[in-house]
Subunit: 328 residues, 2 copies
């Protein structure tokens, strides 16, 4: 029900998911009277409708949402994950509320203090998983170590990489730079047995220097949003330049196939779907402004995550970490 557009986006995305993936079933959770009219004809066999009478507002306080909205679509969807009726929950709604209710309903995995938001960004050579992107504004070195373990487990499970590389976002390549938390976290990551490659600077994110980059949620969120803002500005400038006069408009027509290819390559909609990782269940957050194409990508990413067995992988890796720490 959430996001900027609600069921008008999420329902067609779910129908597209079922069309593309024959092994997937979908449960649409929310106001039945709003959802049902958006499904043409009979309900497809792999689609269920689960009524929930309330909706968490996009600006609603997470604490109030937990206390007062026990029949919100968000809460009910997460309850379905908790009971095992659903394998994953995907929402385009209020991020803070989704994280808070997920923690409240599902709890964190053993050995994980705080869940994090992990998203994928494109790089020159592929892509990178970055966490945390805003769930935790203040992090201890131990939290950053746990983010590294969770990120590496996720990439390992999703991409079948044995030893994904892990870096820490910092402001210099030398060990001496950065603040105390980052320096201590780097030491912990070095001792962790992860494939830790050291500091990654802001520009290193897009150079593909690591498979996983960890940072606190404040810095990560600024990096993500700054990137969004810059990309939007550059797109605006490019449109303005090609729309300047008759000649530039003709040039635009000639260049259109190239520009379209370029746009497809950097289309943020393809990267939609951030994992709320560290919970006893799979939860993905779609961008609030997602369209159907974009939301369907988040749904597919959720299905991939379920198939990957990532939760067990994290649990095993955390247990292994405890052994490493006892030996040290």
């Amino acid at each position: 029900m959430g996001g900027d557009h609600g069921p008008i986006v999420t329902v067609p995305a779910a129908l597209e998911l079922l069309r593309k993936h024959e092994d997937v079933c979908a449960i649409l959770v929310g106001l039945e009277e709003k959802i049902r009219p958006l499904i043409p004809g009979e309900l497809p066999s792999r689609l269920r409708l689960h009524h929930a009478s309330e909706v968490v507002g996009m600006d609603e306080s997470p604490a109030l949402a937990i206390r007062n909205k026990k029949d919100s679509s968000m809460r009910v969807a997460l309850d379905l994950v908790k009971s095992g009726e659903a394998d994953a929950c995907v929402s385009a709604g209020n991020t803070g509320a989704l994280m808070a209710i997920s923690r409240f309903v599902l709890k964190t995995l053993p050995g994980i203090d705080r869940p994090a938001i992990c998203a994928i960004l494109p790089t020159v050579s592929g892509h990178v998983h970055v966490l945390d992107l805003g769930a935790n504004v203040d992090c201890s070195p131990e939290h950053l170590l746990q983010f590294g373990i969770m990120g590496a487990s996720l990439v390992g499970a999703l991409e079948h990489k044995d030893r994904p590389t892990v870096g820490i976002l910092n402001i210099g390549e030398e060990d001496i730079k950065g603040n105390d938390v980052v320096k201590r976290a780097a030491e912990l990551l070095k001792e962790s047995g992860l494939n830790f490659i050291g500091n990654v600077e802001g520009d290193g994110l897009y150079k593909g220097e690591a498979d996983v980059v960890v940072c606190d949620g404040f810095v990560g969120n600024v990096a993500l949003k700054t990137s969004e803002g810059l990309a939007q500005m550059l797109a605006t400038f490019l449109r303005q330049e090609f729309g300047r006069n008759l000649f530039t408009k003709m040039a635009a027509v000639v260049a259109l196939p190239v520009l379209k290819h370029f746009k497809r390559r950097v289309d943020h909609r393809r990267y939609n779907g951030a994992s709320l990782i560290g919970l006893k269940g799979i939860v993905l957050k779609s961008h609030g402004s997602a369209d159907s194409f974009s939301f369907c990508n988040a749904l597919e990413r959720a299905a991939d995550t379920v198939r990957s067995g990532v939760l067990q992988r994290i649990s095993e890796r955390v247990a292994q970490q405890h052994t490493i720490q006892e030996v040290n």
Copy 2:
């Protein structure tokens, strides 16, 4: 002498500066035997050469540079500012060393605890001054307030704006978001009498939401470097797409004037020259990889800063701030 290229870039830039601005004199500080051969014919009347026998390495420890290199080009140039022989110092060298030696030689302005690095970024509607970009990895709320005062004074002086808008970089638009330091800093900025507009998110930087945005040096540096990395990646992708085959190459030829115009508009070289602000003297840091065009822009920015009388403006504003705090 510093930067990735040394005098081969800085000397032609200085000559270009003199050609463009008849009221400016330049002193080239460094190894005379390296600099002199780069000046064709006689020394122009407004150009002086000041020999310095040492060079601070790009990776040299700032503390060691202060202690051991008393005749480095950086140190000597800053001594010239201190003695009043020069009005400003511009360097493409080691940022940490430039900041440390500047503090050591020039000292900070009264009421300013820490100098900051302030650079200009393009926005959809113009540009924004952002500070700090890496000098201070940990900042107190009071430091962020001082950054706001310095940034507003700089914009006021350079752009003749009476009440430039000031924002604080944060991860949400609501007051409740962000960490404790940022929240407290926002309170101080609100009470400061500055034209404070509240939180600016990462994407707001490029939307031109404020004339000045303050943040700690860790976050600012990540935002800046992330932007550089993303811009480089997008440029690479665009080049790749236009170079894909014969048709796309022909499209590139047609689109070339438009693409050139676009490139000129977002050319980071035009924004080169970050102010080390808060010192009793004017010091600018050029990007280490700057070419002559880019370095000349930093030199011109330094000349503008000298003409603006910004140092006095900061001092007056800091004194005013003390009065405001006493009244509160």
